[in-house]
Symmetry: D2
Subunit: 333 residues, 4 copies
């Protein structure tokens, strides 16, 4: 059983069905009937007027959002272990035209208002230093921790005072919402978020993520930038279909709850080994080389996270029965 990545999990059958249903003839690009429903569907979900667009990857969503907020000669404040810094091959630099990521530390890959404020304060207000234009946070974070609405609001306050945009990388936004029990609105625009990369692919999706602009002025140019980046697919209706299927009857939330529940089973079994609180679907544990080898030898796959550490990721389609053997194996190490 694989706990390597939620990217490796299968696609929810309802999404595949939605592709079959979408397979009539329709207008190309995003001129089709399904794409036309996205703004409404997300505005309903977020209880405010938003502008939504599909893209194929979280990297594209993140980079388009940042390019909308940050001119080429400016910077984006993020955590040193943020996905945009560590795992996107420099995409923000490409999309923004050379903007700089300004890297902060913080427990569990989370930023604090204090660290952001200190970063800004340390930058001389002259033309020799790159000035920040935006802050990007990941919720749930790269270490599986969540920002609570009040934490986001604290960051947004600094952003507002400093004139910075606030972007949320929500590759696992669903997992955060599932854990927090709050509304999507409370965790985003009501707390001051300007744009959200709303991830579906790790949560049972196939090839469609959503980029949500709460600050709709940022969206206008993004339509051009999306095309310019080769991300305006000519049969976009198949991306819209996936997203709409995810939103229907809160499938996105059900999937995230299932994955989170799996992580809790592991967390309980590994409670003495936890490196971070388990607040989403990722479990980081201390694990010696021998222990790791043993777990692999009995059929479990996962990611080595540096020396003596491992990352275990649960997925929407793993049941309690799937996970219990791993939990028991860890408990009996």
């Amino acid at each position: 059983m694989r706990f390597f990545s939620d990217n490796a999990a299968s696609v929810h059958p309802k999404l595949l069905e939605s592709l079959v249903e979408a397979n009539g003839q329709d207008t190309a690009y995003d001129g089709d009937g399904l794409s036309a429903r996205l703004n409404g569907a997300f505005s309903d979900l977020f209880e405010t007027e938003v502008e939504a667009m599909w893209v194929a990857t979280g990297t594209a969503a993140n980079s388009l959002a940042l390019a909308a907020m940050c001119q080429p000669h400016k910077g984006v404040i993020c955590h040193r272990e943020a996905h945009i810094e560590q795992d996107e091959a420099g995409a923000p630099g490409f999309y923004t035209g050379g903007a700089k990521l300004m890297l902060l530390d913080g427990q569990g890959a989370k930023l604090s208002p204090e660290s952001v404020e200190a970063c800004c304060a340390a930058i001389r207000d002259d033309v020799h230093q790159v000035q920040p234009a935006a802050v990007s946070i990941t919720n749930a974070s790269e270490y599986g921790m969540v920002y609570h609405p009040h934490e986001v609001a604290g960051l947004a306050e600094v952003c507002k005072a400093r004139g910075l945009g606030l972007h949320m990388d929500g590759a696992r936004f669903a997992n955060a919402v599932a854990t927090l029990g709050c509304s999507p609105a409370e965790l985003t625009w009501q707390a001051g978020v300007d744009a959200l990369s709303f991830g579906f692919v790790k949560n049972g999706g196939m090839s469609a993520e959503a980029l949500i602009f709460f600050d709709r002025e940022l969206a206008a140019d993004t339509h051009y930038r999306r095309k310019r980046a080769g991300h305006l697919q000519s049969k976009g209706r198949f991306l819209a279909a996936q997203i709409l299927a995810m939103l229907e009857d809160d499938l996105w939330l059900d999937n995230a709850r299932a994955a989170n529940a799996g992580a809790q089973i592991i967390a309980k079994a590994a409670r003495d080994r936890l490196l971070y609180p388990v607040e989403a679907n990722e479990v980081f544990i201390r694990l010696s080389t021998d222990e790791a080898a043993h777990l692999r030898s009995i059929g479990f796959d996962f990611y080595d996270w540096g020396a003596g550490q491992a990352r275990l990721v649960t997925s929407w389609n793993q049941s309690v029965e799937d996970i219990r053997p791993l939990a028991e194996a860890i408990a009996s190490l």
Copy 2:
């Protein structure tokens, strides 16, 4: 019945089936078993060792190919009506980091060796003028005309003499091969092409195109650039699946033949109105405003191509029965 664009057509059922089949768990990105088969499948098809990678759009394929061939301070020679110039929102400028498209004229959106050579000769060899690094041609062209292998070879000769890369935008490559009856090898690397954007989406595909490097040295950095552009999808196996389904039993060629046959029916009916020879699945005709309105009033949809002209595009899934009413309506105008 729509003749507006082959992008509007439906997806071939075999591709949707391939997605269901691909829906096990597998390694993320392009580490899966299906993606691993692409190089072999295309090397077989092209009868030489190639490096192939999936991307979601032709714009991404074209731009990645050009970025591999052309540094930011150089230029790409193409036709004034090339898709990369007219319809990709400046994507080549984005991917190359600011390279210049050098626009040539030519009947049917085709370049000739003479026009390319004249363009190169007119550029002063000094640092004040942008120097060309590549030539990009579209086959079949934006006006539905094909380059024969010997025409491609003629262009490649100039490229070789001038040290330029040669890229083929093959959004309708299948249609060109179907018309010419040549092998894919004859039309590409044997004629001197370095990289090909091999289109599937207009030909019954959903969301996967292939970027083929005959000059495999160009591929190495492209893997990084693809990721950096947000085009390395995390469940890439679903793109590979589509492409493999297209290659199986030459589905790509069957689809193109069907679309081409449809275009011939219209061409025959509209032979006194043709603006260009019909060599693929696009028919450009003279059509007055009144005539256009009449055709629309009886249920045909198509693209107005400037004053008194129209573009009619046939698709893989349109049968003779589908097309005959349009042909008859045009003939009786």
Copy 3:
């Protein structure tokens, strides 16, 4: 005697003197006393509040102005033979982050309101086509012709209606003003110009040009971009000194008048050979290969401008006596 380029001419002695005078110790970059005087000096000259900054080259001035007006995914409309297109090695593409130059024709390298409007009208208002953001004109033009204030105003009217910025490349702005006898204000902001590259180097300067923003909002980010481009010289006082010396007692205008007068002497002698009206300090004439060889054999240097054509450029420091021999030699061909 060289008539090859006004770039080849010597520097006016008053500018070299200004360097000696500036050679005390002062604050670095543009924090010095001389740089601080630029805004005031140019505001006086242009009879309105402007923001002015020194840069070393016209290419830098042009590109910074265009980058301020045009986002990476947009375009700049200019003449096909504009310096920014022909002779700046793709600098606008570099500075803007990949924006596109949209090339128009027009007599004497001049744009007309009609041609700009037609260009805009032909661009589909969708995300597939690059949308224009600015127009750039050169005054005096690359063929030594001037735009009159009412011509500039006509272009500005189209720009305003279309939401485009208007940039004037004034590498030979002084020559244009000298010819027209109008005020600098009349030829620029009063006619609707947003930013001007005010050239001094071709007009007796050494290494300082001025970038003038009439729309001062465009200037704010340009200070950062100038630094980012490596154009914020650490001893900027020596650039400011040159410019202030040029402005003192209208030296810039005297120099331009002298160069223009020289061109008129040649124009008169070559009146049957003129390719364009001579309205600045450049004379384009028909000249056979034999005639060109003859002129060179008796000591005159100039630029071959394609087959059977030549460009003769006069400079600030060429007296009537310097020029008469050339005029006589041409007259007696």
Copy 4:
């Protein structure tokens, strides 16, 4: 007396004289006789064939060198306090088209082979992480410390093993050579440096720095990039003149020795306050707010370097008599 920055110092009279001498008519750009002498002059100085070009600023020299070594999707390893990271407004990101600076720690703003190797080793060799392409070091460093030839060679060894280019930011290269007493060759190409930004402006120059390529293959495209960046001045002979004047009779070395000697006087007086060894012309000391205020009140100007710290920079034109009062004032604090 100002100890704020060597950028604030005056220009050596010989350079101003060289401008007067250069003021004949000559070919524009770098086609003049003086520019033509640069390759030879620097090849003599470095005892090997080099390619040299003038630029106006160290930022331009650094960025052009890095762009020649590092493609847009790669990275440059440098110190966290490197000038290219801290004080160039993101210029490397601009010139490279979005490459990433990878920031290391190290005493005195110096890198060690171990830290560079550790940085490289920590980067996963996959397409998700930006791969390094070059290392940039500053000699003398931002804290006035020098790299000895064997230290450079140690870094070059890692670079060679990892396939990285090695760039030296030599804004104060003269000061480093003066301190070390080695030859310019020993400190650069003999130790493995591929390109050097050779600074003159801080050392009595006005507006000309030299970019030296020991790896001459890197130079070819840089000629285009320099033009494209607006750094090919049309009267380049005045930049060449300055540089040649600096090289004549080792003026560059004399100036640096004078500045270094001044720093030693201060260092001796402040020996209990030193934050770093004084190895060039910069002195970093502990200095309380009150002490700083006192020094300023009696006429000394300098840079506050964070809380309780100050930076004092000596210049080529400050004599022992100029500096002694400061030394005495510090000693008697």
